[in-house]
Symmetry: D2
Subunit: 381 residues, 4 copies
């Protein structure tokens, strides 16, 4: 099936988080250590709570891989929960503002919101990160590279270097996955201050995909437009409340001549992703008409502060309807670095899906041949 | 099938724009005049070009309705194009920045970008507006109401009244669908100035859905989260570059205690959508954990300026690769009011789809019975 | 989207039957006359009633085609109903055995079964035939050819010639689409006799697809297996009650050594669909493990007699629950020839969908390049 | 999501067979022992090879269940393979006739058919059986019961008692899951004889679903018709080559008056699944117009003999193209009893999916309320 489908399953305190991935081409080299590295990155970050320390996620490949390569069939990845005590976890009757609790209780007619929060938990994103690692392995076969990092934590904004390699280096060297060593101390101070006040912080995440061929996604149907699909993938991540592509919100205030990216042709750039078409600006963020245009895909996501506060918010007991403070389950102050890893995974997954749709997907060999044949034709248009 | 599916078809200069809607419950009263009213609203707005004047859209119901009500089966709506001369339209070889042209030519290996732009055109949104009208008719059966309006055009921001009925009244009285008569003159002046400079303007659109029951969407799988689905629906609209839910981008700078909406219970509100649960703020924009929480759903979209400028942008001839200015197909200066009608339709369609998923959909009668049974149980939880 | 999706819409006495086809590659030559020829074949056949004479179906292409070729975007085909008087058609309260009437009334809670039968009618199959014509045009680009014909009408069985070209010639020369001129007189006599008795006849339809490349469909997930998908496509045709692939029912009585088709390799056959692999028998009907194996795909469908009899069957009035005879809406005696055209369309559509999935689908040019690249590699395995 | 989706994963000699089930309503009591009982039934049967003895399947619930009931979220079931040595299994270069081997090698461009057969293996059906057990638990909440049994093995046909309870008793007492103790000795003798000759046997499987409410499935779109969906589900089972509904193939030879089931109304039957509508015959097999009609759903599947013979069939080496005998992986003589358990699971899964679509699916409580409300209205139509 030339369609890449990713489903996750599992509860926060259940036996495991499980990811099922269908539609990967056969023959893709799978490096479990790289999945584990992404999982470790998701657990890192200044300002994380105790649970991240005890988990130490490791992926187990339960299906779809033989001799280190995908074979035809679904891939199943399992990440065991160390803190697996679902049957012992207490009932939850006081919904936490900012969480799925209240909406879920009413939807599913279940006053024990334990049954909601276990699945709604951000623990689920470990499964999405694992899928994203596979997606990045596939994208790498086509020279496409995805990079997400933190650009703001609460009141403190980062200044991002233009050079992408430098951006990655700085991110990888940062506790907070911020490519701006100058901003990091102020960010940590802000996290510390919020923590001491029993409060939490959100922030901004930027994601850039380089080497993306033009023509991924499609303009022909609203459900196929890549900007829409990226927005769904990123907005569906726990705590994300806004998604911008390219200039994003700023397009509203500028004129057309300030926004649109002129088109030029440079034969020296014929072998790049853009196939020779160059743009002095990239305000479109690499997407025009619901398709990639050969320029880097650029996306920003805004993350809200963690809703579980040490100083709990006002709530009610769902049975008695009497005022209570919300249950307090977790103690992180800031999860923006972790969420940046999930954003990277979500964007990579969506781009890999679009790649599989365009170039077929039975095997990496067939897919590469289709890609090369298309590329030659596109260059000679 | 308890799933509402909307597909559009048709080219800008083809015979018609067509919408196919599957999964509406049978027995829904269909008022074609209300569809036409929404289509007229899409065509209105200060700063629109000649084409809007000649079109005068009228919907023809080709399938799925008998005696004024839906019967089981797909609904097909057809909006004829007055300017239907697809076979005569000239070839397009100079891609327009900000449009699908270049990406589409490379994707589909077709140097005549007429074959791309005809389908990529915002003319397609007439089909989405027609679907949205039906969705609003279904939502109205459950007391849900969707309202979108313009809150910024280029440099000029509107101030929106708190009262929703007043908001609607002002919007309906405005040439620009702006619920702020004070801002309208400045907005019109900005449009005039941009037009005189051969330039274009974008803006902001806000959409509010009232009377939304809690529990639409789901937290259980990333593809089912309602915030993600709304983001896809809105970001897929031509020229939208950012989507915010609730506070949106602003969540990044505030602390948790400033963002999350405390939960209280007020028995006097038992018969509202929120089933008695009240929130002093609605920073979440009515969605927590990927589900509606009983509060109004609030969403903002940023629209870029129209990319076809009278002062055309730099481009190239796709065959010769020599510099040229972009083709100029259309002369609107500002389409933000029109886009607001599309945003309203997209949000209504997604909410109606979520409603059908939750309450089944064979017939309005069965759906209402399921809704009432759930509502009683949820209230007594 | 590398996925071919076909949806039909429209009521029997509504304005039109509509087909929406998404996922066809761009650049496919569309010959409307060939669609009309298939539609005419669907209306032909000895033993058909008055309505087939008045209809004279003609397709109108409403979207997706320019200058005689598909462009990127959905194709919409419209077949107007000459007998379009949906609003005047009388209520139906006496369900007809063998039809959707009773089940539909109970499902949709609607005692007027007019609202069910209008969509359940075999008139809908005109839309599927139109889609099948397009599918055959795509398959022809890859040397794949689909042929269906009648092999039994009631008590009379046909003897089918081995040679496929001869089979097609005979079918095309036959009023009943039976490739056996010897059997035709007895078949017509049987139809006459049934008609005189106020009764109806069913029969058998065989469908053969030649030149099918190996590897369409997939073994990896039950929903992707091509035999399952073909069975769904054919069993979903009105009045079909059984589907066999290859030997079909007969596999139950034979031993393994009598059923399975030995594999040999013949270098002289390297350029055929089978890529050199030859089988002395084709009991598998061209499908092993849910995939085509390079041999012809062979399928048989059993059609029940038309359920609307001139001598109506016992029924009840759905309001009074009192015994009545069933409503009599239509007067055909035997529709097996017509159904054979629908089976051909359904099989062609499913094969074209599998082809698009395997070889990508943005443009015929890209698809052919991908196909050729794969074929070379498969031959050199 | 009011849609029940079942995906399986895993290789025959991989760590496990995995089933992911989405869309089950919350609150469904899950009895793992009943899943294990169905798995044991799948492994039973006279004429099975060594592997069935060593496997002793046991299900592990990895996600979606808490305190013995489903919670909102996907259910993941894992069945560990005892013979898990995927990395050690030898390469396969000689494709086995009747298997996925050759088609898969060409499709995926992989000469080592180990990479195909591991996923194509009937071992996968353990996952479908596990899903079917859950589906039966859901159906039981609505009084629907599914029963499959063997009615023929090679040359020997069974005679099935009319009484359904007796049918089940006899099946459960039979080594071969044949509800005819008189036929069993001849069947066993046939299996023994085939085994001694190094050959294999197929057979017929019948499946009956009782207590099915009318109106499951739909007539409105070909992909939604329940007969088509059942045909896909059953034809996709390994080795099934034909599917009949009701009279099946026999409809081709009879007249309309002999085929269609008259409709009567009996107030004493108002509380049965048929809501008072009774039919003297059930030639339709409980499905008219793509929907259940309140009568038992009856389906027959034909299974081919196991394609791996002890006396191997002719094949070739895929690299050298030289004649060889096929690889011999497994030693069962007859797997019809096992396949009958899979057919039961497939039919149950499809019916449960149709039930979820019609009656919503957030929670069993909501679903039952919707079902009862509909039932009352349907009875009073």
């Amino acid at each position: 099936m030339a369609q890449l489908v990713v489903r996750t399953a599992g509860e926060s305190h259940g036996p495991a988080v499980i990811t099922l991935i269908e539609g990967l081409p056969a023959g893709l080299a799978v490096d479990a250590a790289r999945i584990d590295a992404d999982l470790a990155r998701r657990q890192s970050g200044y300002g994380r709570g105790r649970r991240q320390t005890i988990e130490k996620d490791r992926v187990e490949v339960l299906a779809g891989v033989r001799h280190g390569r995908t074979i035809p069939g679904p891939v199943v990845l399992v990440i065991r929960n160390r803190d697996a005590r679902l049957e012992e976890c207490p009932e939850v009757r006081r919904p936490r503002p900012g969480h799925a609790d209240l909406a879920g209780a009413l939807k599913y007619l279940d006053p024990d919101m334990r049954n909601i929060l276990e699945r709604a938990s951000a623990r689920e994103t470990a499964g999405r990160v694992a899928a994203g690692s596979l997606a990045k392995m596939l994208l790498a076969e086509f020279g496409t590279d995805v990079l997400a990092y933190v650009t703001r934590i609460g009141p403190v904004a980062a200044v991002v270097p233009t050079d992408l390699a430098e951006r990655r280096r700085r991110r990888d060297a940062s506790d907070l996955l911020v490519p701006d060593p100058g901003a990091e101390p102020a960010m940590k101070a802000a996290i510390r201050a919020a923590g001491e006040a029993g409060d939490t912080l959100g922030g901004l995440i930027e994601c850039v995909a380089m080497g993306v061929p033009p023509g991924l996604g499609s303009h022909v149907q609203w459900t196929e437009k890549l900007d829409g699909r990226l927005a769904r993938a990123v907005m569906s991540i726990q705590a994300i409340k806004a998604v911008e592509i390219g200039l994003g919100m700023a397009v509203a205030e500028r004129t057309g001549s300030q926004v649109h990216d002129p088109i030029a042709y440079d034969p020296k750039a014929r072998d790049t992703a853009g196939l020779g078409y160059v743009r002095p600006t990239n305000n479109a963020g690499g997407i025009e008409g619901g398709m990639t245009n050969g320029q880097p895909v650029v996306l920003v996501a805004a993350m809200k502060p963690i809703p579980t506060l040490r100083q709990p918010l006002a709530s009610v007991d769902i049975k008695t309807k009497q005022p209570e403070t919300a249950v307090h389950e977790r103690s992180d102050v800031c999860a923006v670095p972790a969420a940046s890893v999930v954003v990277e995974a979500a964007v990579a997954t969506e781009l890999a899906a679009a790649m599989v749709e365009k170039f077929g997907g039975d095997s990496v060999a067939q897919m590469k041949a289709a890609y090369e044949a298309w590329r030659r034709a596109a260059r000679e248009l």
